[in-house]
């Protein structure tokens, strides 16, 4: 495909989308699918047909719309009205009432409940109004299985811009100016990483996308893979052009439902067929192709060196850095490795400019971040917010607060290697540095809210168990240290802990953090350390009074010192 053909195709797709009248968007995000989205899709299609509306309405399967707690969801565009908790019969009624009779089906409007009426214009509701969608801008709006819809909303314009009018150095300069930092959690400056990979001369280079989203409570990357896969491919292609790579891999978590993998596969096929991947892309002489690699269930493979070793078909055991993958990665070649959300943020940066992106967020953490809200919160789901927003705004304005009139206790960010943030820091601005300062971390974007029924000691035990199970076993501090810390935490949760156990924990935790080989071992004690810092009282009550204040731990009530 050359440029003229590509532009003509995008224009035709735009026209088709506009001419199809009302777009009945049925959410096919994982959350909506498991609560009956399939039946809703089928019923919607049938209802449109039987109402004779095929000429003026089109049913489209779209990715995650964000308000997962209200699913299955159906949105009617261009009206922008969203209907919640759909089933087959309600979907029929929506078509009947909204499309045929041009009236709202009020009882099914988004957020309609016994206490509050539904929302007519979701974009004005705090859930959406407080968000700023850059990465998710097309997610839930276009059909992820149709490249034409992506082209219609401006897809691959950024790649063309980069290929036709920018040198690799200029692309890297734009990314550096944007201030984009690694969205996988560590927050390394993306432009700097690209520059390193660019500077290392080699006969082959690789671009790898980390889609091994393994933090429990996190589903941001999966939502992008399912909802807007072309966006990831475009970002990878731009990166490949910038660093001089010709081959790319997307490493997808094996535990994911097959949807993400299937849609990425479809997206790659369609992009190849359209000449946007493969040889001589857009007739500019640039060659780049992408393959999918499926993980097989190892959290540690989210660590970059382990991920690359796993792509090579071996045990996903991390190796010490340096050398960093940008110097020596896959098969010893310079390899650029970023996560899904990072790549998905590249196209808008190239298109609108790094300067535009850098105006969003805070001075050191620029741009937006996608979070998955879960746990004890009214509106669970997927959100994208500018960096620098406070936790209180996320949890109370967007998330609608804590259900059941209970009290907020802590927010957990960063997954098993992150930490807990207590109530007194609710007004802290969310950026990389301030979360680290509180003993937690940004992480990939899981944000789990806990109310006063959650025991923080048990939570630390839970995450330690996770890290112990997922430890690769290579280095001693992680392999044996997590096992010992889990044992000591289990004793305390079981009412058999002593103050000596607590002292051992406090000695093991910094040791494991500083002496372990990779981020898993280094991060494993984080929840323990942050709960010890903010909720030390709870540990002492477990040990001295053999009592769990949150009522979660079953206490053996054994006298102190008994093993």
């Amino acid at each position: 495909m050359n440029v003229a053909e590509w532009e003509a195709r995008a224009a035709a797709a735009r026209e088709r989308m506009a001419a199809s009248g009302t777009r009945v968007c049925v959410c096919s995000g994982a959350s909506c699918m498991v609560s009956g989205g399939d039946a809703v899709l089928e019923a919607t299609e049938k209802a449109v047909k039987s109402a004779g509306l095929e000429g003026s309405a089109r049913v489209v399967k779209v990715g995650c719309m964000g308000t997962c707690s209200q699913g299955p969801l159906v949105r009617l565009d261009p009206d922008g009205v969203v209907y919640q908790k759909m089933d087959a019969s309600k979907a029929g009624r929506v078509i009947d009432k909204h499309l045929k009779n041009k009236a709202l089906l009020r009882e099914s409007l988004l957020f309609a409940g016994p206490a509050e009426p539904g929302v007519e214009r979701p974009s004005e509701h705090p859930f959406y109004a407080r968000q700023l969608q850059v990465v998710l801008e097309h997610c839930g709006r276009i059909n992820p299985e149709d490249i034409d819809e992506y082209l219609a909303v401006g897809g691959y314009r950024a790649l063309y811009k980069a290929l036709s009018s920018m040198s690799p150095e200029e692309v890297i300069g734009e990314v550096k100016m944007s201030g984009l930092r690694g969205r996988g959690g560590a927050g390394f400056p993306t432009g700097l990483k690209w520059e390193t990979a660019y500077r290392h001369v080699a006969d082959h280079k690789y671009v790898v996308c980390n889609g091994d989203e393994g933090d429990p409570g996190a589903f941001m990357d999966r939502a992008v893979m399912e909802g807007d896969p072309q966006r990831i491919l475009e970002g990878m292609a731009i990166a490949a052009y910038a660093v001089g790579a010709d081959r790319g891999f997307i490493y997808v978590r094996g535990e994911f439902p097959p949807l993400a993998i299937r849609r990425l596969g479809i997206a790659i096929e369609q992009a190849r067929a359209a000449g946007l991947l493969g040889r001589n892309i857009l007739e500019t002489g640039f060659n780049f192709d992408i393959e999918i690699r499926i993980g097989a269930g190892a959290y540690v493979c989210g660590e970059e060196t382990a991920l690359l070793i796993s792509i090579e078909g071996r045990r996903g055991v991390p190796r010490p850095r340096p050398p960093f993958p940008a110097e020596s990665g896959l098969w010893g070649k310079p390899t650029l490795l970023n996560n899904v959300e990072t790549y998905a943020g590249v196209a808008p940066i190239i298109e609108r400019g790094g300067e535009w992106y850098s105006t969003i967020g805070t001075a050191k953490s620029m741009g937006t971040k996608v979070f998955a809200l879960a746990g004890a919160i009214n509106r669970t789901g997927l959100i994208e917010v500018p960096m620098g927003i406070t936790l209180r705004e996320i949890i109370y304005d967007i998330g609608g607060g804590i259900p059941g009139g209970r009290r907020f206790k802590a927010a957990q960010t960063g997954g098993p290697v992150g930490g807990c943030i207590p109530e007194q820091y609710l007004d802290v601005r969310v950026d990389y540095e301030s979360l680290v300062g509180l003993g937690s971390m940004m992480g990939s974007g899981g944000l789990i809210v806990m109310d006063d029924t959650t025991c923080m000691v048990n939570l630390a035990r839970y995450f330690m168990e996770f890290c112990m199970d997922e430890s690769c076993g290579k280095c001693v501090p992680c392999r044996v240290g997590t096992r010992q810390m889990h044992l000591l935490l289990s004793r305390i949760c079981g009412g058999e802990g002593t103050e000596r156990d607590l002292a051992l924990l406090e000695e093991l935790a910094p040791y494991c953090r500083e002496a372990s080989l990779c981020g898993l071992g280094q991060g494993a004690p984080n929840t323990l350390m942050s709960t010890l810092r903010h909720f030390r009282d709870e540990y002492l009550v477990h040990i001295r009074e053999k009592r769990c204040p949150a009522g979660e731990c079953a206490m053996a009530g054994a006298p102190a010192g008994v093993r």
């Binding site: 959350s31 997962c68 996190a218």
Partner: protein, 171 residues
């Protein structure tokens, strides 16, 4: 600790077995590159249901990889199973969101009701239980997969009945 496997337990597979032929096709697709081991094991597990010693030996031979290397990889990744799976599977998500919303109570209910725990199947081996570190349905926590059916906002009180209803395995 698993007992050691005897050589006499291992049967040599050849491409005469249509399932092995299917695995061989995948091996050829990757031009017999040893890097493809994990992708090939995925297909082999799909085709055979689990990774028996015969299959591991076959894959290792075809990819020219030492047996211990193949065994090391197959046992490193949790998705690979070296034992046949039970007829019916219950997977309780123990991801953080589900944990915070009561996954432990569900596990306790299954243990108390059926003696079903991770690693020790119930109903004469027909029903097995696994924990999953997050199946990504956090908005619907706690989530339980019974065979392939997802139960959102599962409840400890009704989980037992639901398992019977979906799998047909009585208490």
């Amino acid at each position: 600790m698993e007992p050691l496997n005897r050589a006499s337990q291992i049967k040599t597979l050849t491409a005469d077995d249509p399932r092995a032929a299917r695995v061989l096709l995948e091996i050829e697709r990757y031009r017999r590159s040893p890097d493809a081991l994990i992708q090939v094991l995925h297909v082999a597990q799909d085709v055979f249901g689990y990774l028996s010693l015969d299959v591991l030996q076959f894959v290792g031979r075809e990819l020219k990889l030492p047996p211990s290397h193949v065994y090391g990889v197959a046992t490193f990744y949790h998705l690979f199973s070296l034992k046949p799976k039970a007829e019916h599977r219950v997977v309780v998500c123990t991801g953080t969101a589900c944990q915070v919303r009561g996954a432990e109570k569900i596990l306790e209910a299954l243990r108390r009701g059926r003696g079903l725990t991770k690693g020790s199947p119930a109903a004469g081996g027909r029903l097995s239980l696994d924990h999953a570190h997050c199946i990504g349905a956090c908005g619907l926590a706690p989530a339980v997969l019974i065979d392939e059916r997802m139960q959102a906002r599962a409840d400890a009180g009704s989980i037992d009945g639901l398992v019977t209803a979906v799998t047909g395995v009585p208490r």
